[in-house]
């Protein structure tokens, strides 16, 4: 490097340096927030009263939630693991802003886990809420969304046991439910917006409810083993074009899970001996299930071929049975299949009644029949096309495992 170019490069470096130093001064900690200035929001709830938004924010109380109570700041006396603020405002953000009038902490939404929307709010449309979540940088789109029939803010006030942080607890609940029971899936804010903007313009949001009227919101009350009021997952709310249109029961939702290939693991009760006994007296664990939906054009309407294949494990059995005989096993399999078919058909009737394509048939038809879809779109008659759709479900389940004994207890008893 000769002298001149070195001099030039040094001048360049100095320029870069002074520039970066100058910018450092200008930024002046604009985004600097100490942890003890933050109110970490774990859940939010939205209601509407008298034409105004009523927002409730659940803020984690760190010193009560943290395991070791924290250093230095651990004053005696139990304090609740979270606190809630309820504010009113003509817009959502106005309500958030008004929260600073009562709260010592700046609301921080990045760690929010759940959002509860009141049914009435959902009936009026949630477009504004969706926009807020997608627009605001620190609002996390990964919050789980729930619907509530009662005032949504009440849900956030309810204390929870074991998992003290209620927002996280509810998220765990819905995750476990979809993992082990598969009646319905939790839906996150971004999934909701994606579903509502897809061809079918429909989405399903699980309901969250309290099992009793009274809210447990004092820690002393939460100290009993069997809480009189608990948080529970309820039905499945159906949205069409950002508006709530109706509920599906959990059984109907179960059928929907089969139709949309959302089954992870499920328990299916069935009748072990339908010829003698109509009662459900056995159950199997569906460990692995795969659904393939194929639209077929049948002259004047679509028929959806729904193929469900799965493996199950036998879990309980009342009557006599010898599982070493293939004929008996296949009898069980037929019964399970019959039950699943029943779930699907019942679910489909409700879906059709609601007229909401939560089954996500629209994207499938679009993909399989792009021309015809164009036509449907031009006509704008998807709703009538949807009403004419017929489903043709086929279920095939095989019981692969019988657990630890190959005979039912009753058979052993009689031997």
């Amino acid at each position: 490097m000769n002298k001149g170019s070195r001099k030039r490069s040094r001048r360049g470096l100095l320029a870069i340096l002074s520039f970066s130093l100058a910018t450092a001064g200008m930024t002046a900690c604009w985004d600097n927030r100490e942890l003890n200035e933050l109110g970490i929001v774990s859940g939010s709830a939205y209601d509407r009263e008298d034409g105004q938004w009523v927002t409730t924010y659940q803020i984690i109380n760190p010193s009560a939630t943290s395991s070791q109570g924290g250093g230095g700041g651990g004053q005696g006396g139990p304090s609740p693991p979270f606190l809630t603020f309820t504010e009113r405002g003509s817009t959502i953000m106005e309500a958030v802003a008004r929260s600073n009038l009562t709260s010592t902490r700046q609301l921080y939404f990045a760690h929010s886990r759940i959002t509860v929307i009141n049914e009435k709010v959902a009936r009026e449309g949630i477009a504004q809420l969706l926009d807020l979540f997608l627009r605001k940088p620190d609002a996390s789109e990964t919050v789980n969304v729930f619907l509530s029939e009662r005032r949504a803010g009440d849900i956030l006030n309810q204390l929870m046991q074991i998992t003290k942080n209620q927002g996280t607890g509810i998220q765990l609940m819905i995750q476990q439910e979809s993992e082990l029971t598969s009646y319905y899936q939790g839906i996150k804010m971004f999934e909701l917006s994606m579903a509502l903007s897809s061809e079918s313009h429909c989405a399903a949001i699980p309901e969250i409810k309290l099992t009793n009227r009274e809210i447990i919101n004092k820690i002393q009350e939460a100290e009993s083993t069997d809480l009189p009021t608990r948080i529970a997952l309820g039905r499945l709310g159906i949205l069409k074009k950002d508006r709530f249109i109706g509920w599906m029961s959990d059984r109907e939702a179960f059928g929907l899970s089969f139709m949309t290939d959302k089954i992870n693991s499920a328990i299916i009760p069935f009748t072990s001996d339908p010829e003698h006994n109509e009662k459900l007296d056995a159950s199997a664990n569906l460990m692995d299930s795969k659904t393939i939906v194929r639209p077929v054009w049948e002259g004047d309407h679509f028929v959806m071929d729904i193929d469900v294949k799965g493996n199950a494990m036998l879990l309980e059995l009342k009557g006599k049975a010898d599982l070493s005989k293939p004929a008996e096993v296949s009898k069980f399999e037929r019964n399970i299949e019959q039950n699943i078919l029943e779930y699907i058909n019942r679910s489909w009737r409700t879906v059709k009644k609601l007229g909401a394509d939560v089954t996500m048939f629209a994207p499938l038809i679009h993909r399989a029949f792009p021309k015809r879809w164009e036509h449907i779109e031009k006509e704008g008659n998807w709703d009538t096309v949807f009403q004419e759709i017929e489903i043709r479900p086929r279920v095939s389940i095989s019981i692969d495992r019988f657990g630890l004994s190959s005979k039912s207890y009753k058979s052993v008893e009689q031997d």
Partner: protein, 535 residues
Amino acid sequence: MKPLFTFNNSKKAPKNDQPDRAVPVSRPLSHSLEANLLELQQGVGKSSDVVFRRIGQITDKFPLALVYINGLVNSDKVNQAILQPLTESTDLKEKEMTAEAAFNLIQDQIVKVSDMAELKTFETLQASLFEGNTVILTEGMNRALAADTAGWEKRSITEPSSHGVIRGPKESFTEDLRTGTALLRRRIKSPDLRVEEYKIGQRTQTSIAIVYLKGIADEEVLAELRRRLNGINTDRVLGSNYIEELIGDGGLTPFPTIQNTERPDAIAGGVLEGQIGILIDGTPFSLLAPSVFFNFFQSVEDYNQRFDISSFLRIIRYLSFFVSMMLPALYIAITTFHQEMVPTTLLVSLAAQREGVPFPALIEALMMELTFDVLREAGVRMPRAIGPAISIVGALVLGQAAVQAGLVSAAMVIVVSFTAICNFVIPAQTMANVIRLLRFLMMLIAGILGLFGIMSFLIVLLIHMAGLHSFGVPYLKPVAPMTPRYLKDIFIRAPHWMMKTRPKIAAAQETQKQSSVPEVKPADRSSQHKEDDSP
């Protein structure tokens, strides 16, 4: 931050305007013994350790005198090899001969010392005295004899105290230069191992030896090193850092460009890779140059252990380097700017800990880091007897007590402690010290700009490092400029049998097949006997 940009490579030009630069005036010896002795005596003043011993004053035939410095010479050797033969020599007492003949007789027959030299000036005579020689002056001769009787008290070779290894040689250099060169000769028994000696420091006249392998060390680097050594103009060299700073590259960079070690095997390894060792009399710490960034993460231990564990440990060292440099900064950045990056549970527990802490995270971190550096310095200064006190007090200041007092959060104590531990993982103390300083800068930037600031600082640091050189070798070689085949010994340590070529990182003249042994097939590689590849 500013010094980082000083690309000053040419500051080592000799400064000739220094006032006390010795003007070489040579004063010859005279023919008169008394005159010579008087002159010498005046030269050293009334120093009590200079011994003047006159012999043959009674016989008066050939009066002579021994001059030596008590403590620098081996008294037994002076007595038995010089004094006794001189006083007992009948020839000298009885034979008639010229002063010249007597002088030759003393030199050839009487004095029984292997290394003898003739001196003609007072300057050489003095220098010879200070090296532990015994000077023999005779009447009627304007020359003197210097007999090598050096034998001062030396520390014996001990285990290295600052560069310990588990499996490997347990010898370290001592303060004595000759011991050092001997330790190297014992390791590299090749005629190509050259030792060049310099005297540096007008007053200290410290001996410095550069050690290299002829044919492997780069001649250009050697020439540059000689030029820089000759350019040194100082009155003292009392340790290896004097030399390191006077000949090192990089201006005011915090990064070291010369390694130092007290391990002869480390110097031998470096010399075999083409580096040049610089041994300095008076300190057990020797230097290795040129050194690139990655040299400071290699340890002799790597070559004494199997390659797999060595590679693992080396990766851990690089990780520790980054952790030690950035952990407090990352903590500050994440807890004050980017809270969304922390898992909720952790964030809540961090927030709980911070509930009662009075200071912002930046101040808290700076405070704790400074406390640790104070403790560390105190630990070095403390007399060994009260050493345990520091660990007890330290545990209070940097521990649970500080947390309970509500001064700092528990997480900060863990961050600071882990940072400190990581700092000790880096084998080269000089490199560890770099990040001790950079850490503070980084914390400040993280406190102002968050992760963006940390990233920008890292980029600036990288640019700076890419611009550094050590004796003409780019500091980030062989990564930048990239030479993939030299990477075998950088981030990992490949098995010895895989490192067939001598990497050119240390400016070795050429890439050579290892040990010039015909290539060994993998099948019988176990019997292969290789001699180099380990810096």
